[in-house]
Amino acid sequence: MHRCAFLRLVAPAALVGALLAPSAPASAQDNQLTLERIFDSAEFAPDFAGPARWLVDGSGYSTVEISRTVRGLDLVKYDPASGAREVLVPAERLIPSGTTAPLILEDYEWSEDGTKLLVYTNSQRVWRVNSRGDYWVLDLASGRLRQIGAQHPESSLMFAKFSPQGDRVAYVSENDLYVEHIADGRTTALTTGGTPTLIRGNFDWAYEEEFGIRDGFRWSPDGAHVAYWESDASEVKDFLLINNTDSLYPELTHIPYPKVGETLSAVRVGVISADGGETVWARVPGDSRNNYIARMEWAPNSRELVVQHLNRPQNRNDLLLVQAATGATSVLYTDTDDAWVDVVDDFLWLDDGARFTWVSEKDGWRHVYVVDRADGSERLVTPWQFDIVSISLIDAEGGWLYYIASPDNPTQRYLFRSRLDGSGDPERLSPESASGWNDYQMAHDGTWAFQTHSAFGVPRTVNLVALPDHRAVRSMADNAELTATTASLDRGEQEFFRVDIGDGVELDGWLMKPPGFDPNLSYPLLFYVYGEPWNQTVMDNWGGANYLWHLYLTQQGYLVASIDNRGTPAPRGREWRKSVHGDIGTLASADQAAANRIIREWDFVDEDRIAIWGWSGGGSMTLNMMFRYPELYRTGMSVAPVPDQLLYDAIYQERYSGTLEEHADGYLSGSPIHHVDGLSGDLLIVHGTGDDNVHYQGTERLVNEMVARNKYFTMMAYPNRSHGIFEGEGTSLHLRNLLTRYLMEHVPVGARPMS
C-alpha cells in the first residue's frame, strides 16, 4: 500500500519537464509560504542528476544533460577523478531520419561492449510509472539510429534489454515477448497470444505493486535463452474503474485484482530459446495459484536459474534452483518467519557461483549471510546488533560489503562497510557532516559513489564522492536555489524526540513548532500519521511537499508532529516491525494513542485542539484513531484510506494481516469500519474514485456504515483520480486547500493562554 505512488514516477521526468517547459519565474521571495507556492508552482521542484550510470569498464560514468544547441538531451561521460567531460552522444545524433527533433532520452542502457546505446523515449504511464514507451538503438560507430519493434503500437514496448552480446534486443509488447536482431531488424516472437490476462514478461497489478517487479524476463548470460514469467490472470476477478466524465457514456477499466482470500494469478516461469521454440517450464512445487514466484535470476551460469518461491502466507521463502534444460527444481535454501519473510533483492553469487548472499531476519535483526551452495551452510557476516537497511554494493573482489544502516538512530541513514567474511568491525563511511538521510549509487569497484543527502527540511543534494574516505569531488545537483528558498522560510524549532510509552517501548517522533513560538502559551496540534509496514514518517530527510505543507501550517500557528509506531519499517529489529503481524491496526493505533496521551500533557499543547491526518495506510490509521480514541482527537482527515482490510490486495494484506483462514479476527479488530460507533469528532474523508490501488469501494462501504449508524462526517470524492489524487488541473492545490480549510474550521488556529 504505497502512499503517494506518484512520487515514484521516473526521475528523468523532471529533467524532461525542465527541457520542455520554460523555467518558472521566481516568485516573490517571501518568507511566508502559500498553498499556491507549494502546490501550484515549480518553485520547490528539485533538480535531479542523471539518470547517471557507472560504466562497467570503470572508465567513469555517463549522464544526461540539456543540450546547448538543440531542444534535446546530450549523453555525456565524465571521468570522476578529473571531471573531464566528453559528449558521447550529442542530442543531434538522436534525431531519427526524416524528422527534425531529437528523441527525448528518458532512460538508456549501454550494451556490454559499450558500442551501442538503447534509448527509451515517448513513455506512457502504466498504473504507477511510465513503463511503456518506444525504444531506439544507436550504433555509436556508424551513427545509425533504428527503432526497435516499430511494427508494434506506439509507446507499447516494455523492458527492452540488450542481449549480453549486444547483437539483439528483447522486449515485451502487449504481453508477448520478442527478440529483434539489431543488424537487420529480423524479429522472432518468442510468445504469441498474450492478452490482458495472459501475461508474458510482465506482471499483473498486484505483483507489480507488492513485489516491486515489472520487468518479467532475463537474458541468459550466453544470450542463447530467455527466462520469463507468465501470469494467467484469467481466473482473477476484475475490479472495475468507472470513468464517468471523459465521455458521454462511462468508460470502464477492468483490472484483475486479487483481494484478500481471492484467487491469485497462476504464475510460472520458463526458459525459451532466444530463436523461439518450446518453453521449458520450471516444475515449481505446489499450486501455482497459491504461491508466489517473486524473484528470478540466472545462477549465474546459463544452465541454471534461481527463483524465490513464497507460500501464500508469505512466511516461507524457498530459494529454488531450476535446471533450464529440464525444468527440474531443487531447494537450495529456505528462510521462514512466524510473521512474514521479505523477498531478497540483495542476492548475489560469489566465487563463481559457489556461494551466494542472503538477507534474513531470523536472528532478530535484518542480517546478511553468505551461504555455501554445496552444503547449505551459512555464515553470518553482519553479526552486530543492528539492522542492515539495504545493501549498496557487494564488492566480491575487494571483499567488502557496503550497506545502509543507522545503528544509533532509526530516523537516519548512513553508508557503512564491513568485510564480506564477517571479520572486523563495521565502519561508517558517511561523515558527521552528512547527518540525516543518505543514499548511494556506487561504482562497481566501490571507489566512487553518487551520494544523495537530505535532512529534515533540507533539500536533496547529490555529490560525487570518492570512497572509502568519502571525499566530495564534485556536486552533481546542489539544488542551491531550492535550498536557499527553503532556508529563507520563516520557521520555528523542528526537533526529533522520543516518548516512552512504557513496557520498554520508546517511539520516535518529530515536532515542528510555529515561528515565534511562546512556551507560555498553548497551541493546536496536528499529527501526521502513516503507521503501516510500508513506510516510516519519522525520517530525518527532506519531506518534499508534505514537509512544506506542514511548515505552512506552523506558519499559521499549528504544532505539527509525527510518531512512528511499532510495525513501521524502522531499523529497530525484527520484533519492532513484525509484532503487528495478524492484526494490522490495533497495536499501531494503541501506540499512537499512548504517544498522544504523553504529548497532550506537554504544557504548550492545547489538548482540546488536537487533529490527525494521513494518506493511504495513514488514512486508515486516522480512521482508527478517530473511531477508537475519540477522546484524544477532535478532528481527523483521512485521505484514500483502507477502511476494511478485506478489500485490499491479497499480497500486501495477507503478508501483514495473515491469511483470512488463520487471522479472521485480526481483520475484524484491525479494520476501522468495525469501530465506527466510536466516532464523535469531526472527520473528513477524501478519496479518488479512480483509485486502482485502494479502491473507492472501501470508502463507499464506510460511508454506508456511517449513514446506517447516523454518524456525520464530511467527504470529498475526486472523480477519476488515482491513489495520489494529483490528476486533473488544479487537483493538488484543491486538495490541500480542502485539508487546510477543514483543519482551520474545526481546529481553530491561535495560541491561547494555558488553562
Partner: protein
C-alpha cells in the same frame, strides 16, 4: 397525464386537451378530425383530466380558476352546453383528488391543505354526497397541531412585467416580526412540478417546519416555467433554455419578499433544491453570488446536455438546433461565479440524473480552485432513499451544513 384521447360516442368522437388558444382546454373532436365543441371555454384552464361520464353527459376535470396553488373537481357538459361548474363543495379549500369508480358514480375523495392532514371519504357523484369517511387522520391532526405553531402563509409576489409569483412561507416558532430572520429558499423552478401547492406534505413541508423552528424563514416560490395553471405562456416562458429566467425571477421574488417583509434579513439567504431545483440552486450560487450566501444542490443537473433526450429536448430542442440555449442553461458554465458555501449531494447509483453530470462540475470547480462541499451517497438513486438511515442522514447533513454556514435566529 393530459396527453392522449378518450373515445366517446361509440368511437365516433374523442375528448382531447390542447393549449392551442393559450389555455389548457378540452375539446370534443370527431373521428374524422373535426372540432365539435370546446368544453371548457374562458381564461382559465384544466389542471388535469378527470373522467368521462358519458351516461350522464359529463366531463370531470380538475381546475382552480382563482388560485393556482389549489385544485378542485369541476365538470362540463359533454355536449358543450352550459357553463362548467365546481363539484367540490364551495366551503372546502385546499387540494382535492378523486379516484372514480368506472361508472363515475362514486369516488374516493381525498383533500388536504398545506397545514391540514388529508381526509379520505367515499362520495356519491354528481351530488358529492358523503357516504362514509374512510380515513380522518385524527391522530395525525392532533400531532400536527402541536408542530404547526405558525400557520403557513401563502403570498403573492409581484416582480413586475405582469409576473405575479405564488409563494409560501413558514415562520419559526415564537416568530417576532420586529426582528430580522435569515431566509432559506426552497425551489424547483423547472417544468416538471409546482411546489407552491396548498397540499399536505408538499415541498418537504415537514422538514421545512423543522428548519423554520431552528430560526429561519423558509420561503418557496414558483417562478415562470413551473407547471402552474396560469396559462400556456406562463409555462412556456422558459422554452429554449431552462435556468436563466427562473434564476432571475427567484432572485427578484426574493427582493420583493424582503421589500414587503421587513423581518426578512436578505443579508442572510440560503437556497436549496433537488433535481431541477438542485440545478437552479447551482444557478443561483453561480449567477447571483451577491444574493445567496449558501446553497445545497441535491442531485442536480449542471450539464443539461447529459440528461435524457426526452425531457431536455421537449423544453430546449436538440443541442444541434439550440447550442446557445444549452450553453446558457448549464450551471457548469457559470461556476466561476461561486462565492458562497456550496454543498452538492448526489447518489452514485442514479438511474435518472447520472453522477457523471455532477462529477463534471466537481472537476470544473477543482480546476477553478473553488472550495465546495460534496457528499456522494453510494448507490443511491435519484430519491436518495435506499439504505438504512439514508433519508435521516441526508436531512441531518443539510441541517448541520445550514446551521454551520448560515447561523440561525433573529437579529
Amino acid at each position: 397525464m393530459n396527453s392522449g384521447v378518450e373515445w366517446i360516442r361509440e368511437g365516433n368522437a374523442f375528448v382531447l386537451m390542447s393549449e392551442k388558444d393559450g389555455w389548457r382546454h378540452a375539446y370534443v373532436v370527431s373521428r374524422d378530425g373535426e372540432e365539435l365543441s370546446l368544453l371548457t371555454p374562458g381564461a382559465s384552464e384544466i389542471i388535469e383530466r378527470g373522467r368521462v361520464d358519458e351516461e350522464r353527459g359529463f366531463f370531470y376535470y380538475f381546475a382552480s380558476p382563482d388560485n393556482a396553488t389549489q385544485r378542485y373537481l369541476y365538470r362540463a357538459r359533454l355536449d358543450g352546453s352550459g357553463a362548467p361548474e365546481r363539484v367540490t363543495p364551495a366551503d372546502q379549500g385546499g387540494t382535492h383528488r378523486y379516484e372514480f369508480s368506472p361508472d363515475a358514480r362514486w369516488a374516493f375523495h381525498t383533500y388536504s391543505t398545506f397545514d391540514t392532514p388529508p381526509v379520505t371519504e367515499l362520495v356519491e357523484l354528481p351530488e358529492h354526497r358523503v357516504v362514509r369517511t374512510l380515513e380522518d387522520n385524527d391522530a395525525l391532526r392532533v400531532r400536527a397541531d402541536s408542530w404547526i405553531t405558525e400557520p403557513t402563509e401563502f403570498l403573492q409576489l409581484d416582480i413586475g412585467g405582469g409576473v405575479v409569483m405564488d409563494a409560501w412561507m413558514i415562520k419559526p416558532r415564537d416568530f417576532d416580526p420586529s426582528l430580522k430572520y435569515p431566509v432559506f429558499v426552497y425551489q424547483y423552478s423547472e417544468p416538471h412540478a409546482q411546489d407552491v401547492l396548498d397540499l399536505w406534505g408538499r415541498g418537504h413541508a415537514h422538514f421545512h417546519r423543522v428548519v423554520a423552528d431552528l430560526g429561519y424563514l423558509v420561503l418557496c416560490m414558483d417562478s415562470r416555467g413551473t407547471p402552474a395553471p396560469k396559462g400556456a405562456a406562463w409555462r412556456r416562458a422558459v422554452f429554449g433554455s431552462l435556468g436563466p429566467l427562473s434564476t432571475e425571477e427567484q432572485a427578484a421574488g426574493l427582493q420583493e419578499f424582503g421589500r414587503t417583509r421587513p423581518y426578512a434579513d436578505l443579508s442572510r439567504v440560503g437556497i436549496w433544491g433537488w433535481s431541477g431545483g438542485g440545478s437552479n440552486t447551482l444557478n443561483a450560487m453561480f449567477r447571483k453570488p451577491e444574493v445567496y450566501q449558501l446553497g445545497i444542490a441535491v442531485a442536480p443537473k449542471p450539464q443539461p446536455h447529459l440528461y435524457n433526450a426526452w425531457f431536455q429536448e421537449i423544453y430546449m430542442r436538440t443541442v444541434e438546433e439550440n447550442p446557445d440555449g444549452y450553453r446558457r442553461s448549464a450551471p457548469i458554465n457559470y461556476a466561476e461565479g461561486l462565492e458562497g458555501d456550496l454543498l452538492i449531494i448526489h447518489g452514485t447509483g442514479e438511474t435518472n440524473t447520472h453522477l457523471e453530470i455532477t462529477e463534471g462540475l466537481v472537476d470544473r470547480l477543482i480546476e477553478l480552485g473553488k472550495p465546495f462541499d460534496y457528499m456522494a451517497y453510494p448507490n443511491r438513486d435519484h430519491g436518495l432513499r435506499e439504505g438504512e438511515g439514508t433519508p435521516v442522514h441526508m436531512r441531518m447533513l443539510m441541517l448541520r451544513y445550514l446551521l454551520t454556514h448560515l447561523p440561525p435566529g433573529p437579529r
